[in-house]
Symmetry: C2
Subunit: 353 residues, 2 copies
């Protein structure tokens, strides 16, 4: 069966050109079909610039766009015909199989929960992110959807992250680390110490607490944290990587010899750039919703969109959601304090982009 | 008056050799005197290896050592003659003016609070850290002492960070940013949203929320966060910087041209290394205790210790504590929920090293 990915073609900071280019590349390189959701005038004009269009691309008109700084909840309530809402509506009525968006990530999450609902026994869907490391890729969850968490939420992030990592990277029992500020179980804040106990008592492959410096070593498959800490980590990493490269460039332009050195080593810099390029990993999956969605970096280029579309296809094929439900059913991980408005609140207080 | 710095000469992972070497350099380059606190047999043996000893160095015997992984509270209670306890005892009885330690940072904080007490109206002393950025140095607080905070604690960290930054870097009204996951005041977790209101209503130079990627831009003087988030940021930054350098080295050793490039650019790499070297900044001050203490990185070398000793002297001379008390008196920043055991609990649950 051909899988159909609904792409929010109006999302992202680089405009519909990159979205369309990414969709064309993805369709050209795979068996996937892509629905380009957005303003049909704009999208057909962009498509006309491409000499050859592969089969398997289709425009679906949506008259509204959610901007990056809009309040997720209000945007979803008011803009019923936004590209992001329509993308999930298509999944709901069975005319698409997954959504990819580089737009407002809070609105994407809110829209996913509203249209598709949550997986059984999941209190808080969240956003996972794939980090490049010195060895294998690392899945970190949550990176921004749930800023105030209870221990059970962290436990569920671990289950979801393990199911995703296991299916996508074909790891039998992914190792899970809990992000804290010391390796011993007694180290950390109240939330982390309670979550540590839940993980320790479970049959998951829990390796204990890990620290910030372990993220890039690549010795663990999944790192669990609340969405506030995860989002800070993500942005600290981005900011530092950019700052380091910028400092090195400055130092290397100060003398003629160093400049020559840079010219000779340029390819190495380029290869290094590829290793840390988020575009290689194709966005961050929404986990815990009853369907498949991927949020991409706001600055996603065509390559990032192409990879996100492919990962969406891979997530459906490898049945990540079935694996999450199955893995979760082994534990009594339900949060007894949970109530219906909870997930909604989380999205509302989370970040918008 | 000659200032006397009590150095925990047994702390740190590199051993007393680096501590003694750092003390010798500091005394040689400044008017400061240093008390080397630790095992007198070991310390005099180490000192004998140095051909020329400047005046102003004195060994004070302490028979015990707190190790890096000991529980701070227990260690302080049980090891009454540890080098770290004795260092603060010397400050308490007026025979030293400040403490520098590269040992167990939790024990250093606990010992400081126990011996010297807290500054007036400070609920939770904390650890500030100086980050290198693309522009000017940044003060971040708290980076590990207080893992579960209330909004008033964050507000007090802002006041303490501003007093430190203002006095040390001679900035009239340092700008303060609150670490969150979006720039708008409504973004963040419950703690950060309440703290935002406290800052907004104050007359501090509060620039609003900042994000993880802003840390290295150097556009803000002080960034405030709880000790859990701050410690994670610190370790993520260390880990990523090491990983990036290691990845670049690997890429540069893959081809002969790239290797030649590295040889030519080596000086630039070295200069860059100096820019991000924590040793240049000489450790992290304990702020909020009624005295002066600096915790250094466990891996501190002689240079880091030398700089920490000098910063300790500078902190006393520039009267940072008086400035904190003065600045705090302008606000009603007391935490009404506060109680006496609070600071103790914070240290106990915080990290040990």
């Amino acid at each position: 069966m051909t899988l159909r990915i609904a792409l929010d073609a109006m999302g992202g900071e680089l405009g519909p050109e990159e979205m369309v280019a990414g969709a064309i590349q993805a369709v050209g390189e795979s068996e996937l079909h892509v629905l380009l959701i957005g303003d049909e005038n704009i999208l057909s004009r962009v498509m006309q610039k491409h000499a050859q269009l592969p089969a398997g691309l289709q425009i679906v008109h949506a008259s509204q766009v959610v901007s990056m700084d809009e309040s997720p909840f209000e945007a979803i309530r008011k803009k019923k015909d936004s590209s992001i809402s329509k993308a999930f509506a298509y999944v709901k009525k069975g005319e698409a199989d997954a959504v990819v968006s580089a737009g407002n990530s809070g609105a994407t999450m809110a829209s996913a929960i509203k249209s598709l609902g949550r997986l059984e026994n999941i209190s808080r869907p969240g956003i996972a992110s794939v980090f490049p490391t010195l060895k294998k890729p690392l899945v970190m969850m949550d990176v921004g959807a749930n800023v105030d968490c209870r221990p059970q939420h962290l436990f569920q992030f671990g289950v979801m992250g393990a199911a995703f990592s296991g299916n996508l990277f074909r790891i039998k029992k992914p190792s899970i680390g809990l992000l804290s500020i010391g390796e011993e179980g007694g180290k950390g804040n109240v939330l982390v110490k309670s979550a540590h106990e839940l993980f320790r008592k479970s049959s998951l492959n829990f390796i204990g607490n890990v620290e910030g410096r372990d993220i890039f070593q690549g010795d663990v498959d999944v790192i669990v944290c609340d969405g506030f800490v995860g989002n800070v980590c993500l942005k600290v990493s981005e900011g530092l990587a950019e700052a380091i490269i910028s400092m090195l460039r400055t130092e290397m332009s100060k003398s003629v010899t160093a400049k020559m050195g840079y010219m000779l080593a340029r390819k190495a810099f380029h290869q290094f750039g590829k290793r840390v390029d988020y575009a290689e990993y194709g966005g961050a999956p929404l986990l815990g919703v009853n369907g498949t969605g991927i949020v991409c970096h706001g600055r996603s280029n065509a390559k990032a969109i192409k990879n996100a579309i492919k990962v969406a296809g891979e997530m459906i094929r490898s049945r990540v959601n079935a694996h999450i439900t199955e893995l979760l059913s082994e534990f009594d991980a339900r949060d007894t304090l949970e109530n219906e408005t909870d997930a909604a609140e989380a999205v509302q207080s989370g970040e918008g982009s």
